[in-house]
Symmetry: C2
């Protein structure tokens, strides 16, 4: 069997690339050793967000529903059924993975569940067969780095398989997931402890947002300890003079590339597959998209790269600089797009920063969700907006307005003169821009 | 006492104009016969949205929380404390009205609670005094037209003063508010009946959205009757052969201008104060902003007009065509921006329409809110987006992305190449655009 393209890995890089490849008439095979949708769909974004929704609802009913006028239940007696929450999330995963398979089928994409090996630049071996192809995309993703400090740690991949939630988990590592998990446990009445293995707690976040996260964790009484301050012996984990109580460790470390078995030597860079501006590796015709190339750990970045490769194969060059929003599904949510203040300082661009809290926003108050702010970073002369940072209950959707603004190189003035509906949380965009003008 | 500007009415047109006037150094007096913030703040947008949030939460706990894994309560025993919900909304109103007063004070704006009368183009009488001024803004708003069919109907202004909610209310009239109120009652387990006094049910909405609303009401088993099909006698309200049971009527009629006592004859148009492109009335120096000029019933349109007048007085001409989003806080929410399909047909512009449902969107599924769609209307040649329509749980905030897109005259291509974060509901914008490309 001969293909135009073989894609190895069916996460957000691979499955999106496969659909586009099929749509554009390329004979396409996608191979995954596990599940359709990869980590994002099966044990990453989607289950995490589903379970976080459950936890946020639980927390809201427990702590706020009475204020909204809802009675007839006892907040102290509320319970959380972990297995039901997981069951619900699995239903969603199933629906989405069927959707992907439907789109593959519709666009003539073949799928194979097997371990794949690159035999030559134009040959892939899987399921004891050799498939020949013009192009290969490696989209095998990433996984949290295994930690020698806690070899017994539960991997994220296994987290949603747990029968019950730990009561006092240690979350070891750093990054957005550690914040999401800490709040997940905290909202469900558990007592998590974060042990960070580096600084900052959430890499790539603006220092202003990092500071907010640290304050927020403190306010929510979630302990954050550096692994430099602990020692482990037979008795357990010591922090200073005290012995830390815990019933599980979850590995929330930063991630490393999942590399693939290959007879062809593909050049690496810092452990990731090295790629050029078209995401092509050191071998012509072999591309790498998503986490495995080390450019980003974001699902939407992976999908964008996957599409870009298909465009390139089809002779369309779309390799322009693109801004990837960083979204954290914390409570409230955090979103960031464009440059950080540190990057602006380093660049030498003259800039200004303006921030407005949500506390005077009618819709946020109506929703009982007035914690947060919108922050604009813009260059001083033409006031083009270069960075947007949001903390808000719905920050991850709000940031999409900033996406269009940055894509179209809009200014503070454009933002100020765009009539935003009242009452909406997005009004704060207009308000902060008007305040600048 | 002599002023640069006297503003009569402190709703979204008036209070925003007052703040800007003060900021730009104009000596400003704002007069309201009732409360700071007008209808929107005191018995319109803000209390309605607060109470709707309560009802949505009640409905979600009653019907969906168990699915999310939440237990320890009996859905059948849940109760709704109307007075507590109203108390909460009053707290929000108070916070916002204090915020307005603070901003007035900070910017040197004087406030007077009194009935105002225009004595001459440069004189306003209030509280038995004459205030002289260079300019006047009439921002007295609107109110639902009194209905002779149901003279006992409760006015919206009095709705939030009710001790308890009616069980079987008739909602008489039409427009967005009738949908919001019908769902409010329905979500709280009451049995509302809509009696419409005209067609379409929600004026200015695209026919596609109107059709959705009609379907949605039917699905939710909310009766919609035309007032042409009823008769009223001593026994009650008859619909065909059956006698309609009801315990209250709420006046949800379309609105009429609240005019002001004036010795100066100000020209009207269809019952509204006639204004030119600068919102100036037939009398130089007297302006009219907000509902009273008949251009729009939207709070954000009122505020935009108020600002525009202050800019004009300060010698800045910003009278460009602006798109006002229409937001309905139904369940799910409905939002519309730009042209409707009917308008496109009439204009003769060659256009295309593309719609994508939320049902395959990961975040919508995770939130348990996958009812709805995003619909783009764009001209065929350059694919500039001319209209956006959204039905989604958070449509009223999502539409802000479309705001920027239309303001910057963006195309389907711009939308498609803007990386939207995953998983977000806003991704559907990108997906529908990619589907077109």
């Amino acid at each position: 069997m001969s293909y135009d393209i073989i894609i190895i890995g069916s996460g957000p890089a691979g499955y999106v690339a496969a659909i586009r490849a099929g749509q554009t008439g390329l004979k396409t095979l996608i191979i995954d050793k596990k599940y359709v949708g990869g980590m994002c769909l099966n044990w990453g974004c989607i289950p995490t967000k589903s379970i976080l929704e459950s936890a946020k609802l639980f927390n809201r009913i427990k702590n706020s529903a009475a204020e909204f006028g809802i009675g007839g239940y006892n907040p102290a007696e509320l319970s959380f059924d972990w297995n039901q929450a997981v069951k619900r999330s699995k239903g969603i995963v199933q629906k989405l993975s069927r959707g992907i398979e439907y789109l593959w089928k519709k666009n003539g994409v073949e799928f194979l569940q097997a371990e794949a090996k690159i035999v030559s630049p134009h040959e892939v071996e899987a399921d004891n067969r050799i498939y020949t192809t013009k192009n290969i995309i490696i989209a095998t993703g990433s996984r949290p780095v295994k930690q020698s400090l806690f070899p017994e740690a539960i991997e994220l991949e296994d987290f949603f398989k747990l029968d019950r939630l730990p009561e006092k988990p240690i979350l070891y590592g750093r990054g957005a997931i550690i914040l999401e998990f800490a709040q997940l446990f905290s909202m469900l009445g558990k007592s998590p402890t974060i042990i960070s293995n580096g600084s900052p707690l959430i890499p790539k976040l603006d220092a202003h947002l990092e500071a907010y996260v640290v304050r927020k964790l403190k306010k929510d009484k979630i302990a954050v300890i550096s692994d430099a301050d602990i020692s482990i012996d037979k008795k357990g984990v010591h922090h200073g003079d005290s012995l830390l109580e815990y019933d599980a460790v979850i590995n929330c470390s930063l991630r490393e590339a999942v590399l693939i078995d290959s007879n062809v030597k593909i050049e690496l860079l810092d452990g990731y597959i090295k790629t050029d501006e078209h995401y092509q590796t050191s071998i012509q015709g072999i591309f790498a998209a998503g986490d495995v190339n080390g450019h980003s750990y974001l699902a939407h970045a992976a999908s964008a790269q996957g599409l870009s490769i298909i465009n390139f194969i089809n002779g369309i060059d779309d390799s322009t600089a693109v801004a990837y929003p960083i979204n954290i599904y914390s409570d409230p949510e955090i979103a960031q797009l464009g440059v950080t203040e540190t990057e602006l300082k380093e660049s030498g661009i003259e800039y200004q920063v303006k921030e407005m809290p949500l506390i005077a926003n009618g819709k946020a108050l109506a929703e009982g969700a007035s914690e947060g702010f919108i922050r604009l970073l813009f260059e001083s002369k033409y006031r083009q907006v270069l960075g947007v940072q949001i903390v808000a209950a719905n920050a991850t959707d709000l940031i999409s307005e900033a996406g269009i603004l940055l894509e179209l190189e809009g200014t503070v003035y454009d933002l100020a003169r765009t009539v935003h509906a009242h009452p909406t949380i997005a009004e704060v965009f207009m308000d902060v821009a008007k305040d600048i003008e």
